[in-house]
Symmetry: C2
Subunit: 283 residues, 2 copies
């Protein structure tokens, strides 16, 4: 099962895929991306990812990119790889031009797709939950656009690992709990869930939307509202959600146990429901 | 005079220089850079740029990069190009590794240098000054590290051009005036200058330091302190400073004239002093 890349129309081994040093993705982080999960040879929620990609491209005034062309690139590379449980990464940069902050007058967006074996969450993390630390959110003000402006996320994740835990949760200067380094955050307080509203300060995930839908079907109330660190620490359950994160229980934050320090029933129930959908869906 | 690139030891035409799609500079903006000006075949303030580069590399915990190797790469590419008035761009990324937020266990930083004809500020801008707009600062919280997390700068510059002016000035949510999209900002109020202190919210430029030094020699007081938009608009002079900006008068902000709408005497004096140094200095 070869790990492959698609680059502007050609499919090749990932190691051979190279972009010009004056690609604006490289010099300015002027690029957007999506990460799609393949399960049993099918891509989960591909159309929702393409919707969000279009939102990102529009928000940054990119030249027009054909949705069909992107869809074909993703599917073709995924199929050719033959990898059933794949992580499909798609990145589109504004294009290549001599370095200059302003948008180039004419540029051709560069389309890159890579297909690798999925980076799966270790089963013991899914079963037993993970520990996290909180960090100050120093990301830029447009986290709702899925760009490669990710260095703050990188530094937070690294800090978590160096602290001996699995992930970090961003908290704003004013004390608002945002999300994880590559996932959204939900908490349960008694009979309802809380999660940060879809403002420019978070990336409203596809998995987040799917879960809100599932909760709707199951009669679980989800309030999209701001909450602080005290509310987080005193929650009955805490979990992270995302394309590769799926539904991941958080059992300790900054060294303090959440409830009894075990994954909670709502978390486990939602994970099962999400798995069902992932095994039905799509392409 | 060929425009050249250096990539990990080899010098080639810029168009041929390509980096792997899994370069962390491309996927996370996990890269730092410098821009050095060449005047009459000499590089201005190269050692100060290398100092700042080391600060950036350390701040991000990059693997060790040899300063001598970087210096040789910059000088050799500059000399081979034969371009006397050059813009020398240097970018170092953390390295190439399968996509994963955390630092790779082992990675080899990628060193890229490009040498192009300098992007000179149009003479009429230097003589007559430029107009700018103010924009809300949505950049991340570590602007003191010279990274490629530059999309907020790109969007601000583009907004300025689309508003029919030349540049934008960032103002924080709380009303603190920061700097330009690729330059620092000074204002004159009566007999002294004000500029934002070197906090994580600005990139303390080499030209900024050189000018503070020149002011010291000339008995001009420079206060590094916070100021707001009203102070900015009522200043006697406003100017931007930077490696390619040099000392650039600002004559109107958000459609309002600064003083009499002409470049001021301190601005013009400092530009002459800076030019003198640029024509003496270095390699």
């Amino acid at each position: 099962m070869p790990e492959l890349a698609f680059l502007n129309g050609n499919i090749m081994p990932i190691e051979e895929a190279r972009v010009p040093v004056e690609d604006r993705g490289y010099q300015f982080g002027d690029a957007v991306y999506e990460y799609v999960a393949g399960y049993k040879g099918r891509l989960f929620a591909l159309e929702q990812h393409l919707d969000r990609l279009e939102h990102s491209l529009r928000a940054l005034d990119f030249p027009i990119v054909s949705r069909d062309q992107v869809r074909r690139a993703v599917i073709e590379t995924f199929k050719q790889s033959g990898i059933e449980r794949a992580g499909v990464y798609l990145q589109i940069s504004r294009g290549v031009a001599p370095r200059n902050h302003a948008f180039p007058a004419h540029s051709q967006p560069q389309i890159v797709v890579t297909v690798r074996h999925a980076h799966e969450t270790p089963p013991e993390h899914l079963q037993k939950g993970i520990r996290v630390v909180t960090v100050t959110d120093i990301r830029w003000g447009r986290c709702d656009i899925k760009t490669v402006q990710l260095l703050a996320n990188v530094l937070a994740k690294q800090k978590a690992l160096e602290s001996g835990v699995e992930d970090a949760i961003f908290i704003s200067n004013e004390g608002v709990v945002r999300e994880g380094t590559a996932s959204n955050l939900f908490i349960r307080c008694a009979d309802h869930l809380l999660t940060h509203p879809a403002t420019p300060q978070i990336l409203a995930g596809i998995t987040r939307s799917v879960l809100i839908e599932i909760c709707g079907e199951q009669g679980i109330q989800v309030h999209q509202q701001f909450f602080d660190r005290n509310t987080l620490l005193s929650a009955d359950e805490v979990f992270l959600t995302g394309t590769s994160t799926e539904v991941l229980p958080v059992i300790a934050i900054d060294g303090r146990k959440i409830a009894d320090g075990q994954p909670g029933p709502t978390t486990l129930n939602l994970r099962r429901e999400l798995e069902k959908r992932a095994n039905q869906n799509d392409v």
